[in-house]
Symmetry: C2
Subunit: 229 residues, 2 copies
């Protein structure tokens, strides 16, 4: 099995290839794809070897053929079903963001504890109570879950998902999950990311301010020197 | 300056400490915090040294004091302003998700190219045209931006942000950004993350299916052996 970094990069290459196709580009070299993806050409070639696509040394990779190869590798050809857990602001956003984005991947069920949501259809997706999870998962062959519940509920819901046979969890809840081996978890912590950027934006601004002060000081020194001459 | 990994972990510790405080816990040891955060105790102690907080060897860390120390380190004490770029589904979700989440950090302006949104107030946030960026950024001292525009527009908007003095970008656009040194970018690519989880969920399910087949085969073999005896 390939590494999760390779899978991440393949997903990125496909995005970039779609962009190139939109601009009418037909061929791309590994070094061009590498520059766009922030990877090395050798890495690109290794990654694409994993999907079994070989470029020609004279024309590089055929954009449309390569896109197809990556799709064959990454996507479930018969379609893959996902479930969403938690239909708050974030959950609704996730629903409207992902709906129709990948034809082979669709959110077919949503789960919440709120009685007012259960039984309704939100953004085209039916909402169920968590008690119905095992039945709904079995009937729709769902192995993939998107977790958007509050942090305090996340571990419990994740355990329900594992019991229902889930094998992958995209975790938006700001809580580290404990799951058995064989279940893949990918964390997206938006608050943590924002706090990081906020911190470094402030440090950057401080450094900039310090530089300006320094420049002004040296200008003052220069002027003072000039006066002495 | 501390590393971006340390800043990420500090943000996570604070989240965990808030959870502990909610449960009425007053003291926590570095090894407990480490276990919850998926870090080592030595790492926790090093990270907390960066914020200048020392625990007692007998009672560990004081939960409320430590939370305050991390806050002093991570947050701008006078308040930090952020701007959102792109008020589509994702942008609206980001607005409603972050509004009020951090008292010291608020999204004070949103930018879009859509004439119907410009001048309106969405989720409590005024929307401007990108032409107004430099003025709005200066007047509100904004150095921090959240990018939620389509991939094709991302680089261009990022360059406008840099020109307006932005020092940190939280990038939700599925496009790698090129920015000058001194500008910090944190990428959140939700589609890429979902594709990764989907891939590994499928591999996990396949492995499971293969194991079941293997178990059944060995059971058949066992039965066959039993028949021969």
């Amino acid at each position: 099995m390939v590494s999760h970094r390779t899978v991440g990069r393949l997903s990125l290459y496909r995005r970039l290839l779609n962009g190139l196709a939109g601009q009418g580009t037909r061929n791309v070299y590994s070094h061009q794809l590498a520059a766009m993806a922030g990877a090395t050409p050798a890495q690109v070639r290794r990654d694409l070897m994993a999907v079994g696509y070989m470029g020609s040394s004279t024309h590089g990779y055929d954009v449309s053929e390569l896109t197809k190869s990556i799709g064959n590798f990454l996507d479930d050809q018969t379609g893959q079903a996902a479930a969403l857990f938690g239909i708050g602001n974030l959950g609704r956003a996730i629903l409207s963001y992902f709906t129709g984005r990948r034809p082979n991947l669709s959110i077919v069920a949503a789960f919440d504890v709120d009685e007012n949501k259960i039984g309704r259809v939100i953004h085209g997706c039916r909402c169920y109570s968590v008690e119905e999870l095992e039945t709904v998962a079995r009937e729709n062959d769902i192995r993939l879950g998107i977790l958007a519940v509050p942090a305090a509920a996340a571990q419990n819901v994740a355990e329900n998902m594992v019991r229902a046979g889930f094998r992958g969890i995209l975790n938006f809840a700001p809580a580290p999950l404990k799951v058995p081996a064989g279940v893949y978890v990918e964390d997206i912590d938006m608050t943590m990311s924002l706090e990081k950027v906020a911190y470094f934006a402030r440090q950057g601004a401080r450094l900039q301010a310090a530089e300006i002060v320094e420049q002004e000081n040296s200008r003052v020194l220069e002027t003072a020197k000039g006066d002495q001459q």
